[in-house]
Amino acid sequence: MTIRELADGLRAEILVEGDLTREAETGYVGDLLSWVMARLPEGAAWMTVMGNLNAVAVCSLKDGACIILTENAALDEDARRRAGMEDIPVLRVEDGAYRTALRVAALLGETA
């Protein structure tokens, strides 16, 4: 499923368009940046509350498919610019990470 389809399915706000045609392979949840740097799968939709420049850097370095900000977390202005430059879509949802992950899994047809 593309990031655009994922965004539609989640009824997410699209804060940065980036490459919405990219496929989301799976999801990943985490807020500790170096932890995510160690574990984020390539092509994953990354759910986090970290909307800063360093989060965008981690997503780019690990080749994540998009960032999904949960619980309406803020996106810093410099992070928004950088995500645009790097072509990384940034979505935002009201739900917390748990509910968002359930919804992403359902949309991607993944089970535990």
Partner: protein, 139 residues
């Protein structure tokens, strides 16, 4: 391709600029047509090292030597040094202050990531004088 040497100042107080040196190295390696897996390893390891210099050492300098066989990264700072390198290398060990934890740092995974993504990692450190990290990634 002969050896290309790149040098950077890493500012000590500015998180918004931390990561600039590793981004620039990534860009240059791409232009050189370097092996993508090696580029990824260099960029990740150098990013973690750069962030550590900003958070823990008040900034420093980075030197990167690129040749067809390998990329050598040397990160030097004049910060507080690391009293127990064995501990610092453990996953989860961190002395990061609260203000940077709020930004998502402090998992204690930076040095383990540098180890994982490099072929060689050596740390020279002296308490009160500073730290130098030598990292090599083979092409």
């Amino acid at each position: 391709m002969s050896t290309l040497t790149l040098r950077y100042e890493v500012p000590g107080d500015d998180f918004t600029r931390a990561g600039e040196a590793s981004s620039d190295v990534k860009r240059k390696l791409k232009q050189l047509g370097y092996n993508p897996e090696a580029i990824r390893k260099v960029a990740i390891a150098m990013y973690e090292g750069e962030i550590n210099m900003v958070i823990h050492a008040g900034g420093g300098e980075a030197t990167v030597d690129i040749d067809p066989k390998q990329v050598r990264i040397v990160l030097t700072d004049h910060g507080p040094g690391i009293p127990d390198v064995g501990k610092a290398m453990q996953e989860g060990w961190s002395t990061a202050p609260d203000n940077v934890r709020n930004l998502g740092f402090g998992a204690g995974m930076g040095l383990p990531n540098m180890k994982k993504y490099t072929d060689e990692l050596r740390i020279d450190t002296k308490v009160g004088e500073g730290t130098t990290l030598y990292m090599t990634v083979f092409a």
